[in-house]
Amino acid sequence: MRGNWLTTMGWRHAVGLLAVAFSLIPIVFVVSSALNPLGTLSSTSLLPVHGFTLDNVTELFGGTDFGQWYLNTLVIAGTASVASIFISALAAYAFSRFRFRGRRISLLSLLLIQMFPQFLAIVAIFLIFTQVGEYWPALGFNTWTGLILVYLGGAMGVNTWLMKGFFDTLPKELDESATMDGASHGQIFFRIILPLVTPIIAITGLLAFIGMMNEFIMASVFLTSSSDKTLAVGLTGMVAANNRDAQFGMFCVGTLLTAIPTVGVFMFLQRYIVHGLTGGAVKG
């Protein structure tokens, strides 16, 4: 078995270590900037040589609305990604399981619509939400609800594609036998299909969450008041052209802290990703 270890396990560790090293280089740099007492980019090297300090952290929380941004982002990205996953799972089921007129063209359109440059759509978004805000102030500019709605507009896009691909791998005999058992389409979806695709739901959820944590263009248009901002908007402001250097340390702390919820969500979802039930269930 010893000799076998290299072929079964050794290469896995080798790939893993190389990939991790690749991943970590810039991140180590960010960590070292975050701890750099000088707080500037030019004085930062890969490994901290100026000693350690937590000043950047205190300054970040004391000098900006960082805590508030953090909370806002969690609420907005959390709500929007859960809702968005639900919507795209529904759509993916329809695209995978039903054959209807205009199905493929709709799928293609879903993809294409995502490709339109967003910086051009800003004007239109202003136009729409000025109207919306006039009648329903709760959904207008400077509201989270408005922003979440815009995010949900994109929910059907990439996520549906992703999930549909996986739904397609589930044998249709599954549905057929359930139908014979008298299950309705809704029951098939909620009780049979969904549990089987938990890994992919978890992954798509994570991707959607990350996407929304990072989203910047719409958020900066919607949320202008400092206490309303999301992390992406607040952090970008910190490195806005001229200001870049002075706040680099703070910015790096912010960047690292931003990664925490994502990693947390990933750890939480890991078990669903890893313990996919598919293999066993298909045998029926």
Binding site: M115, W161, I203
Partner: protein, 517 residues
Amino acid sequence: MSTRPPLSGVSGQLVKILVLSVVAALAIWAATPLVHAGAWVGLGVVVAVTALVFYVYLSPRRLPAKYLLPGTLLLITFQILPVLLTITTSVTNYGDGHRGDKADAIAAIQAAAVKEVPGSPRYLLSAAWRGENATDGELVFLLTEPGSGEYLVGDAEGLEPLDPGGLTVDPEGRIVAAEGYTVMTPAEFNAHSERITGFAVPTEDGGIRSTGFDAYEGVSTRTYDESCDCITDSETGDVFVADNENGYFVTETGDRIRQGWQVNVGLDNFTRFFTDPDVRGPFTSIFLWNMMFAVCSVLFTFVLGLLCAMAMNHDRIRGKTLYRVLMVLPYAMPSFAMLLVWRDMFNADYGLLNQLLGLELDWFGETWTSRAAVLLVNTWLGYPYMFLICTGALQALPRDTLEAARIDGATGFQAFRKITLPLLLVALTPLLISSFAFNFNNFNAIQLTSGGHPFPDASPQTGDTDLLITYTFRLAFNGSGVDYGYAAAVSMFIFTIVAVISGISFARTRKQEEVYR
């Protein structure tokens, strides 16, 4: 599946009733302000959408619609509608200097030309309604001239002296109450800003206008005359005639007033794009690099992501969670932040990369090093995404098929190539296409790192690492103002190209989709 008990339909019905009641409640909530405002078109839309929702969910048929409706409604409102609105701007000159309509432009021109009458006094201004206890109606200006201590009232007819006996003033001399008028509080004054700032009491030399809570005598040196559709400048005597095709006022000698308006220019933006040699020339080379960038980005991220996913796809590998977390980290960090960090690392003199590797490469200074650099960064950013997807996909593979292959004596690599990869591709092809589409337009990956560098001297507008979208952005935003119309036209063109490519690749997925059917 027969082990599962037959499912009862009662709970489903309950959910349906609950959801539909929420929809009804939302509809009523949405309709109320529309009814108040008399916005009947909006109301019509709300009613129609509500009716559609009820029809789809109550009808025993329309199965796909039941699943597609929520997403589709959101998609239409917040994605398709903005795109359609944007597309309509491609046949206009919408952009800086041509934002509003003609009336806006005329108002702006006249307002910008208001000059204070030399030597005229400043007044303390109180805005008021004519009549006691009025809250609306005829607007008048109650003025105090601090120098002479005169009190005046101005309406649309002109100025008249005011009897000081009926007035109450504050220590500064500003009128706070007047017999026969209802003086506005500052808050009311502010709330009626639009009307007040648009109002002028005609005088011999011009008009008394407000500025803040003061008033001054000003005269607009530019006036619009409808009969000739022109603007006359009283100072210079220039006559600017409206050019309704291009959306601005212009003199015979070609002098233009800056404030123009939005007009329909037909296909001008498209012809400009296709006939301008400066734009057409570099287009092919940008397009080729753009294709290469997108293809390589997808390929590199996919290969690396899949490799990592395969490596970690083993029950007994030690430290698996740690590996996975560390691999996902690049994706968890805010991408714009990391792009900026990478850019700094590539700095030729001060960057970390040259220091670490002992190189003196001017990364973004040479075509191919710059291209390699942006691809490296993009791979770093994107591979965790592919890693996650592939991990999920590997988990979802039917294990019996794999076991069967192993029993058949296939080696690891054969099994991968013959069984695992084809199965993975079923699930992942759509995703690879969408990833291609995303990278084709990956604005940030270029803009925040190489910024399009290097640029040849002769054409400082086209960089060797420019994508079509960064190039369009530069065309649109770096002239003498933002030109949305032109940018929309160019985007439409690019969009068409991407659509065709994606459409063709998509057509090939039909077969794969049916693998399990």
